[in-house]
């Protein structure tokens, strides 16, 4: 093995593949948070998506139905969160944590008959090109549709938030629910929709794990990736494009750490694993120091319930 350009391409491709679930979940959670809702149930929604996608793949044999179904499952479970936090005005943090407990239990219950069954092969595009072109081949080709979607999604999200009317509405609701409400926007409805969208993306992120990345169902298979996705939203300072950069850095640390070990280098594994979290804190400090910057990036009503006297 040598450090040639094609080897670097292969490593970058594996970093990208590992960051797909993080990008999907973080993009979804970003919209939710932009509307002023903090949903800590990402892990719970992802694991529900993972089992739903896998189960539908096995039962129906149709990958399209399975992918759509996993997003739908994410929507259903996030509806619980939406109903509690928006209609019954419960605390976001506590409800999100309860959602994670519920989701993990529920996924195991749904998945008990799917343990030990290998998943189906998921189609990839231009697999032959991936090996024949050095460097760009493995990066650009030989991936599933979800992979490509994940790398387009942040740009779509960015366009949605900045250029569309609904996107501006979402930001208005997150930044100042009172004035948004005075302008006639139904704050709770907008937030509901953002929560459901977040659920759908987390469901898809879970399905990527159980259907494409490691095609099988195992209890707790999301392994804390939901929490890393939450960190990623903050790391990106609620900017969808930066989610891509953040995901590559987070994923890159993990993958490079494994490569360094395989080369026989002695490295402090735990320290490297802690790095994404420490970097997130540093980024937070940097953006928050400047009150103008923080206003531009953080949804100022994040985590606070909104109630309008009728």
């Amino acid at each position: 093995m040598s450090f040639d350009i094609s080897f670097i391409g292969v490593v970058i491709a594996s970093i990208m593949a590992s960051s797909v679930p993080l990008i999907l979940a973080a993009s979804g959670e970003l919209i939710t948070e932009r509307s002023g809702v903090l949903n800590l149930g990402v892990e719970g929604m992802m694991i529900i998506g993972a089992i739903s996608g896998f189960a539908l793949m096995i039962v129906t044999g149709n990958l399209f139905i399975a992918i759509i179904g996993s997003m739908f499952a994410g929507v259903i479970i996030s509806t619980i969160f939406g109903f509690l936090t928006q209609t019954l005005l419960t605390n976001h943090v506590a409800t999100g944590l309860a959602l994670t407990i519920f989701g993990i239990g529920m996924s195991a219950m749904l998945g008990k008959n799917f343990v030990g069954i290998p998943g189906k092969e998921f189609p990839v595009f231009f697999d032959n090109l991936s090996e024949s072109i050095p460097f760009f081949g493995p990066i650009l080709f030989g991936h599933s549709i979800v992979f490509y979607f994940a790398f387009i999604l942040p740009f779509l999200t960015n366009y949605f938030l900045k250029k569309t009317k609904i996107g501006l509405m979402v930001r208005a609701v997150g930044d100042s629910p009172d004035s948004a409400s005075n302008q006639g926007i139904n704050v709770n409805l907008v937030r509901y929709l953002c929560i459901l969208y977040g659920g759908a993306m987390c469901g898809l992120a879970g399905a990527y794990l159980s259907m494409i990345y490691t095609p099988q169902w195992i209890e707790n298979m999301t392994g804390g990736r939901g929490w890393i996705a939450l960190a990623l939203v903050v790391f990106s300072t609620w900017n969808p494009i930066k989610i891509l950069i953040g995901a590559m850095i987070f994923g890159g640390i993990t993958i490079l750490q494994l490569h360094m070990q395989a080369l026989g280098l002695r490295i402090p594994v735990q320290f490297l694993s802690a790095l994404p979290y420490i970097m997130t804190i540093i980024v937070l400090v940097v953006i928050s120091r400047d009150s103008r910057k923080i206003k531009l990036s953080t949804p100022s009503s994040l985590g606070k319930s909104f109630y309008k006297e009728k």
Binding site: L38, L40, I80, L84, L88, L89, T90, N91, V93, A94, T95, L97, A98, L99, I101, F102, G103, I104, G105, M106, S107, A108, M109, K112, E219, W227, L230, A231, V234, P268, Q270, F271, S273, A274, Y277, I278, T280, I281, L284, V285, S288, R289, S291, I294, T298, L302, G303, Y307, E309, K310
Partner: protein, 361 residues
């Protein structure tokens, strides 16, 4: 249909009866829906509920285990209520617990081959200070750099867990322990005194009770409690009133960090007796739910911690006696929490039944 059947109105003040009735309503709803889940999965609902809620505590041992499990939850939740009451969202109690555990465990390991009355106080103190210092990180970042404490405290949880991992796998691992990821056993002098022969309930429960009493006093009888209440109500009002916001933020974080650290001490010097990778099954996160269920009220938190602890014991007992899978317990637990949280709604809002006019039908 134009006229609504019911109308929802915000309560001006919270009535005492509703305050106590809503949790009961939530529990009834939980029992009904839990029974339904068990029925759908093919278990006898009443029997399942019995094994969930009654059997775990129908003997002294079971009851003592309930107290043992509730102690850290109560202690952390009390600490968190200082933060939450004053609008400071510390959700990193798990990290503060872990860091407190690391610091106190480090002290206990220094004395691993010594006995002496002074060891335990040092260990306990170290844990409280450790938790306090760790909680000050999000507090100082909030007061000085205006960072969001929810996110910083959450991130720090993982940092401290990885630090613990590093220590027990590496430098602190037991030299005679074949490289297994755990430290030496602490000496007896570093262990919490056991209250009753044969049971595991230890002196840590007194720390929790003392915290309950002190916090009740602080919340309702001191100027600080009043300040916290006002800040919790509106930060702007607090500023007008000239409260030193920064000092208070630091103070409530320190208190809640110390409580979480003490909970960590209780675990490692009580039932565990050493450091290893899993010193807490996410007590720090569960305690957030406990704090809300207890409505940030010290007495409420006692009850909430008992209820939540019971759901954990119940899931175990239900599996032992009825072979109800663990995940059913988790689903049930999630539902209890949803119902209890939802019952808050009735606390702040009332539903007016307007009646139905004939011509509308």
């Amino acid at each position: 249909m134009e006229g609504k059947l019911i109308k929802i109105v915000k309560r001006d003040d919270i009535s005492k009866s509703v305050f106590f009735l809503t949790p009961i309503l939530a529990i009834i709803l939980t029992l009904i829906s839990g029974g339904l889940i068990f029925y759908l999965l093919g278990f006898k609902p009443l029997e399942a509920l019995k094994f969930f809620f009654i059997v775990p505590i129908n003997n002294v041992y079971g009851f003592s285990e309930l107290l043992l499990k509730a102690t850290p939850l109560c202690l952390i939740a009390i600490g968190l209520s200082f933060c939450f009451k004053s609008n400071n969202w510390n959700i990193g109690a798990e990290g503060q617990l872990t860091f407190g555990g690391i610091v106190s465990g480090g002290v206990a390991l220094l004395f691993y081959n010594q006995e002496g009355f002074y060891i335990l106080p040092l260990v306990v103190l170290a844990g409280a200070v450790g938790g306090m210092i760790y909680a000050m990180i999000p507090a100082i970042l909030k007061t000085h750099f205006n960072t969001n404490e929810i996110l910083v405290s959450l991130m720090l949880v993982y940092v401290s867990k990885l630090l613990l991992d590093y220590l027990v796998v590496g430098p602190w691992s037991n030299p005679e322990g074949f490289n297994f990821p755990e430290t030496r056993q602490f000496s007896n002098s570093a262990r919490m005194p056991i209250l009753f022969e044969g049971l595991r309930i230890h002196a840590g429960i007194f720390i929790a009770l003392a915290t309950v009493i002190i916090s009740w006093f602080v919340f309702y009888k001191t100027y600080l409690g009043f300040q916290m209440k006002v800040s919790g109500f509106s930060l702007k009002t607090a500023k007008y009133a000239g409260y030193k916001g920064k000092t208070m933020i630091l103070l409530v974080f320190m208190i809640s960090g110390a409580c979480a650290g003490l909970a960590g001490v209780g675990e490692i010097t009580g039932p565990i007796g050493q450091l290893h990778r899993e010193i807490s099954p996410d007590y720090g996160f569960t305690a957030i739910i406990v704090a809300f269920l207890g409505r940030l009220n010290p007495i409420g938190i006692i009850f909430a911690s008992l209820v939540v602890a019971l759901t954990y014991l119940g899931a175990e007992t239900a599996q032992i006696f009825m072979q109800i899978p663990k995940y059913t317990g988790q689903v049930f637990q999630g539902m209890i929490l949803f119902f209890l949280l939802a019952s808050d709604y009735l606390l702040f809002f009332k539903i007016k039944f307007l009646g139905i006019k004939k011509n509308e039908l």
